[in-house]
């Protein structure tokens, strides 16, 4: 995946400045920075949700998101929350439910699940879509330490199993390290990728 961004503005305010971002197949990348710097805006551009930017995006065929909130369909049960967005069968959905520790809960509605369970369901949904590249936006931010650690381990395990690439947006470098992700910093106004040139060049040999 490659993004050459010239500029993303909201009104007169430039939020994101010129930056180039490249992720190789199966590569894990973390975008770090203080809150409000434009990390989520950058991820929305990568997900194709924000097309109102100047620049060029070459996205891989299959991407899947994990958002800050679980964003499940409250009116569909846990299993349908996998089968509908990921377009998979019921049997495969049950395997994913078991993989994230939700076996037997396929008929529960999201409201009948704890927040931790909802998070794991959202994670399973993203992996069930068989993405080449997983895009996560602060997925551990509002969790307690123990739950966050469990989610991180689960994410690491499933990334290794599937070989999917990762773009993780977070304010916490420890999450990036736990997922063995290359770190880039977003800073300034309009924001640019600090350290991007050298680190990206080290990692891919083609970025500038």
């Amino acid at each position: 995946m490659r993004l050459e961004l010239e500029r993303r503005s909201f009104g007169e305010t430039g939020v994101l400045g010129r930056l180039v971002l490249e992720v190789a197949r199966g590569e894990r990348l973390a975008i770090l920075g203080p809150s409000g710097i434009g990390k989520s805006t950058l991820l929305r551009i990568l997900l194709g949700l924000d097309r109102d930017f100047e620049g060029r995006l070459d996205a891989p065929e299959r991407t899947a998101p994990v958002f800050q909130e679980p964003l499940l369909l409250p009116w569909r049960d846990a299993r349908a929350n996998l089968t509908i967005p990921a377009r998979i069968g019921a049997a495969e959905a049950d395997r994913w439910l078991a993989r994230v520790g939700l076996e037997g809960l396929g008929h529960r509605y999201p409201r009948q699940l704890s927040l931790g369970q909802q998070r794991r369901l959202a994670l399973a949904r993203a992996f069930a879509a068989r993405p080449d590249l997983l895009m996560m936006d602060e997925p551990y931010a509002s969790l307690d330490a123990a739950t966050a650690a469990r989610m991180l381990a689960l994410t690491e395990g499933m990334l290794s199993e599937t070989g999917a690439g990762l773009v993780l947006v977070t304010h916490d470098p420890r999450e990036a390290e736990a997922l063995k992700a290359r770190k880039l910093w977003l800073d300034g106004r309009p924001a640019r990728l600090a350290g991007a040139v050298t680190q990206a060049a080290d990692a891919t040999g083609s970025c500038g």
Binding site: L49, L71, W75, I84, P85, R108, Y109, R111, L113
Partner: protein, 266 residues
């Protein structure tokens, strides 16, 4: 009304049900008042007794006439109800999601909302002809603006976050409607349907009164020509009962089923 207020009102209505003890007493009181008035007035041609009207309903049911005309009316109600709901939902969602469409269509909607039903009916009969198409079109046209307004307000309350989710997973349009948009509109659709069915059957009777030779409205026309008050009341009461039955046996159970996820919270 916000989505939650609509849902809460729907929940309250469901718990109460249409027929609490007070409801039964109120209706019984009305019947008693009617009976007393009819007996005192002693003018059966102008104010027949409830039992005379009841006997007329039984007689009409016996000849098969009741079912024939009620089913003709019912068919028109269903056809125009479905048409109005589909068209109104389409227009309402468009106006709710696109500010441009709202600016163009809103003035027309205000005019349509204030257009007298009778004008639409007469124009449909003149332009389309005295036929079934004109009848159903006229009724549906009367109902579309109201559905559009209710659905537009519901659409404005749609969750943008779920929209992003659906788009990020590249859900096909049909799935997006079925699994993301329509479930959020259910409380609004239910209100629109409930408000719609009572409005529609009243307009269907007018349409039949003016230009059809079957249906309850046609029979009311006949009874009116003969100053047959017993007949007017018999046809009207029979149809009110049918419409209440549809509300209780079809619309309410559907709404309950569609909002099951909301109530089964842990």
């Amino acid at each position: 009304m916000s989505r939650h207020e609509v849902a809460a009102a729907a929940t309250r209505a469901r718990r109460r049900g249409p027929w609490g003890l007070e409801g039964v007493v109120a209706v019984a009181g009305l019947l008693a008042l009617w009976a007393v008035a009819a007996v005192i007035a002693d003018q059966p041609r102008i104010l027949p007794t409830p039992w005379a009207v009841g006997a007329e309903i039984v007689r009409l049911a016996g000849t098969g006439e009741l079912w024939r005309h009620m089913s003709a009316t019912f068919g028109r109600v269903v056809a125009s109800f479905v048409l109005a709901l589909i068209a109104g939902t389409g227009i309402g969602v468009l106006m709710g999601r696109r500010a441009g469409a709202d600016r163009w269509l809103n003035p027309l909607l205000v005019i349509a909302l204030n257009m007298p039903a009778l004008v639409v009916i007469v124009l449909c009969y003149i332009w389309i002809g005295l036929n079934e198409t004109a009848a159903v079109t006229a009724v549906a046209l009367n109902k579309v603006p109201l559905v559009a307004v209710m659905i537009r307000d519901g659409t404005r309350a749609l969750s943008p976050a779920l929209d992003d989710m659906a788009q990020a997973f590249r859900l096909p349009l049909a799935d997006r409607w079925r699994h993301v948009i329509l479930p959020q509109l259910v409380p609004h659709l239910a209100s629109a349907a409930r408000a719609g069915i009572s409005l529609i059957w009243k307009i269907v009777l007018v349409v039949e009164f003016l230009g059809r030779s079957t249906g309850v409205g046609f029979k009311l026309h006949m009874s009116f020509s003969l100053f047959d008050v017993t007949g007017v009341l018999a046809w009207a009461l029979g149809f009110v009962v049918l419409m209440l039955a549809i509300d209780g046996l079809v619309l309410r159970p559907w709404e309950r089923r569609a909002s099951r996820w909301r109530r089964d919270a842990a």
